[in-house]
Symmetry: C2
Subunit: 322 residues, 2 copies
């Protein structure tokens, strides 16, 4: 059994390889060639455990995550866990991957793949709301997907910004990084806007003119009580692109305006369907676009399998004697 | 993170140490000092995955099992998997244990602990119905719990018997091992009878006189459609001892006679309650007794934690670099 830690995973694979694989996964999702049971939650006191199983045609696996909000106080990652990868025929666990790293990379790559498809090729500036681990990874993938010259960062907790900006400067080369005082300013200065917060209320002012012509990547709101975007965004666009049909119920960014009739079901389309069948992409990306992701186990199993194959090829990882 | 394979686990701990711990677990169950969500099943084609989470006061974990019946044809274990052991405060996975070995040992120890409590000290013969991996482990623990002189084995598939008997003779010393042609003969010759089949119908003839004065350990039937014991057994005893309250619904050996009114709810008692409060044990074990186990995640987490602590103490296992 092969164990792959953070260092191993980063040695195996490039960000673009992960985005290429995520792109294929959007197609796989449309073709329905997988079995993905509902995500399983176990809640106890202030602790949450998630089991995310998924079967493909030649492999299956489970992402096991622990979500411990109190880790924040201990400067430990809130989300931790493992990805178990199993032989399709015998059930044997063939590999275990660091779940924290896999989650960060695949979520970053989902956002990056969104950028590849719903933004013009010549965008130069990215605004990020939410200066955390996921925000950092979104920026890494954004800068691979497009030739970004400037990054603009906002976070409600200003004290996080200096360290975050320092880290971005160190790890993403050739990009200017600045912070702003509020999200209105951020919207004005950015071509692409990425949100990675756990906010329960829209993080932007509800002003239509601020949203027009921009491209939005929503990563944060993953529960019905969470919202990052105000009604103004919905009123200036034709369609929202989503990663999975479950998004309609899972994120307050969609379930809330859907319930109020502000957003219609036929305005929501999977990114896979858009990639496969939309004939008018060139025109669409010139306007306001929004890709909203909630994530799914299918991304994990596909990316984990690719990483495992690369690791075997390159002789990377710790071999565990069974 | 410490990985413990089959060899490591067997080096860490003795069978009696596991039984002592299981005995404590029966008490823990009565005191309700744990949180054990329902076992989670995922079924896909002919494959089953189980997630069995449990929280104690200072540790938590999940047993992850794959049940692949087609492995039988490939001479691979049908049940495989891993036990994940997690830090209570941070959620971090601190150890992974071979799930197959843990399951075999804890289930054997549950049966053995039953024998410690519902059989007279001077029993000499054990009959086993079901010559598989679990049957073998039940015998190992039975021979630790009591001074067994003779083992009598029956299996519907006679061709399995020579290899099985050979294995028992090699690994359990100083015991005579024989096979019999049918379960009636087995009942007549045995003091203790252990069953580890997946039968849907009782494996014994429905004759009261065969059951009187014997001690039964039921391990096999773990679904409502499975039964190992006929009505005759119920008609000659006062009480059935169980490991967990769920047993009443989970095993056909109880749910079936309960539904038909043959067995009354007040005839069912947890072994923990019996151990703690029964004043008349000496008398009871002279009559007919039955301990019916269906297993639970609480056993896994307790035994896995003990094994982990012993392994740390003794420097056993493979240390995985995170």
């Amino acid at each position: 059994m092969l164990y792959l830690n953070e260092k191993d995973i980063n040695k195996c694979i490039t960000l673009n390889e992960i985005m290429d694989e995520i792109e294929k996964t959007f197609i796989l999702y449309e073709k329905n060639k997988f079995y993905m049971p509902d995500r399983i939650h176990v809640d106890y006191k202030n602790k949450t455990i998630l089991y995310m199983p998924c079967f493909l045609e030649n492999i299956f696996g489970t992402k096991f995550l622990t979500v411990f909000p109190e880790n924040r106080k201990k400067s430990r990652p809130v989300i931790d866990g493992l990805m178990l990868l199993n032989d399709y025929d015998t059930g044997e666990t063939i590999s275990i991957l660091d779940g924290k790293t896999l989650t960060a990379l695949r979520t970053g790559a989902v956002g990056g793949t969104g950028i590849r498809h719903i933004t013009p090729k010549d965008v130069k500036t990215v605004g990020l709301v939410g200066a955390g681990v996921q925000g950092f990874n979104q920026l890494r993938f954004a800068c691979e997907a497009r030739d970004i010259e400037k990054i603009i960062v906002f976070d409600l907790f200003k004290e996080k910004l200096p360290d975050f900006i320092q880290k971005v400067k160190e790890q993403i080369s050739g990009v200017e990084v600045v912070s702003v005082e509020n999200t209105e300013e951020l919207l004005k200065e950015s071509d692409i806007v990425i949100t990675t917060t756990t906010s329960n209320e829209p993080v932007f002012p509800n002003k239509k003119e601020l949203f027009k012509g921009k491209n939005f990547i929503g990563i944060g709101s993953y529960k019905p009580n969470m919202r990052e975007y105000p009604d103004a965004l919905i009123s200036v666009l034709n369609k929202v692109y989503i990663d999975t049909e479950f998004a309609k119920e899972e994120t307050g960014d969609l379930s809330n305006p859907l319930e109020r009739g502000l957003l219609k079901d036929n305005q929501i389309e999977t990114l896979g369907n858009y990639i496969l069948y939309e004939k008018n992409k060139e025109e669409i990306i010139k306007g306001t676009t929004w890709f909203k992701s909630v994530g799914m186990a299918l991304f994990d199993i596909v990316v984990a399998h690719l990483i495992y194959n690369k690791a075997k090829e390159k002789g990377i990882g710790q071999e565990i004697e069974l």
